[in-house]
Symmetry: C2
Subunit: 312 residues, 2 copies
Amino acid sequence: MKVLVTGAGGFIGAQLVALLRATGRIGEQPVSALALADQRLGDVPPGALPLEGDLGSERLLQRVRDFAPAVVFHLAAVPGGAAEADYALGRRVNLDATLALFEALADDGKPPVVVYASTIAVYGSSLPEVVGPETPPRPPLTYGAHKLACEILLADFARRGLLDGRSVRLPGIVARPRAPSGLASAFMSDILHALAAGEPFTCPVSPQATAWWMSAQCCAENLLHAAVMDVSQADPARAWPLPVLWLSMAQVIETCAALYGEDRRQLVQFAPQAGLENVFGRYPRLDDAPSRALGLHDDGSAEVLVRRALSA
Amino acid sequence: MKVLVTGAGGFIGAQLVALLRATGRIGEQPVSALALADQRLGDVPPGALPLEGDLGSERLLQRVRDFAPAVVFHLAAVPGGAAEADYALGRRVNLDATLALFEALADDGKPPVVVYASTIAVYGSSLPEVVGPETPPRPPLTYGAHKLACEILLADFARRGLLDGRSVRLPGIVARPRAPSGLASAFMSDILHALAAGEPFTCPVSPQATAWWMSAQCCAENLLHAAVMDVSQADPARAWPLPVLWLSMAQVIETCAALYGEDRRQLVQFAPQAGLENVFGRYPRLDDAPSRALGLHDDGSAEVLVRRALSA
């Protein structure tokens, strides 16, 4: 089967491409051709088709149509902080280009599988004690609003039989490179890098701040699985949060101390920022039973999470 | 205050404009200027500014910006059946032009009030016994998907302080003119016209089919109220179903019989269509308490509903 990855030059895209090349298949089906799309692609593996440029451009969309993928992983996005700072850019990429891609791929004869990387940023703050399938999403950033809108649009393409859409809501994925990413949640990765390296870290949320964590490797595994999981009987919204580890910053620091040395505890100073704490520090328990029932999974333990996060 | 009505040439738009002109005010504020936008406008009342043309065009958006309304009622839409038949048209009007209007109106100094006519078509079929604020919307038509997406986008403009957005989900509004409207729910109006006139009617849903009903007059009253109701403490989604009368077709026929004569019962033949029955015949009870708490209201009784519907 022919496979397209958008955002292939990004952090999660690179992990997914590496996993795709290592396994050579999705479920039972061997990958016969791989196309990689991104604004800028780094090293393109031999044999892969590079589709570099603006995803929303007619030129690139025509190349996507010509490639005619059977499975698409749509990861390309302007991250939350950057999209909030530049509305026009966020709209163009996160809303317009995404819908343009859906329209270019739509095929009532053989609807391609589209795994859409949505985000837990659809949920918002002031969440109930347990977030579940009935929790109404209240996106606290334009990024989340655009992702939620595209989930709804993708579900509509699925309803019309034009795409086999599957939206998965990604939690905080670690550990991203330490370079500026435009992600407001970058601190979740930065603290792991700092503590592994034995460097001091000023944490912008409190020790009690709870978030939903997943390693990039686990995320890539879930994306591949999302392409083949049986959703024929599933909720027509076709959107699921990935199962997560629900950890406080204190638990993460404790795990790093156990792995890298007790002295790590002293390296962290806390300077909570109300805005970040409100959006990224108050995630409650997640009822991810419907996601697990479809075969999606978390990292298993905080220790595995941190090890994997830092081995990437 | 300056007021803009889009879709002013339509059925509900005309009702709203008539009510605006009759009252001359919204809440305590007198209407100082009225602009009417639509693809095609019929008779424009003296003193009103006609904005005829494609709402998504830069030319018309510039005229909207020049007018600088303090309150906007955004009613312009391609209805459900027509949007399902012509995706490109539905997308252009119901999604693109709506977002373009929001962007044109956005003002962080003095955010205008935007009352957005959304729809109960966001909910979908397979509804629970009671539809409430926690019921996840599952739009069964592209029309509803686009409306839901725009609710989310409007809530995001409100969160950013650029628009004072209020989405109200309109139920089946009666009685529309008998001309073809592109609405799949047109039968809800057609049966009233037929029975009032003493004509036979073939009903495309069963006698047990339950729907949510409102007269156009009540709808216009609610739209005006939506512009002034206090939403400062309200759900950040800023979207409410209008309170409804929950009536079966049998109840509607009974009401017509009581009003226009017992012989009306014999005029109705039933030829239920599965598609229509599924979408328009299975509305359960609506928990509209949050809407009522904001001062929105229904027609009061089936008899008042039918009388008002046919006096328009």
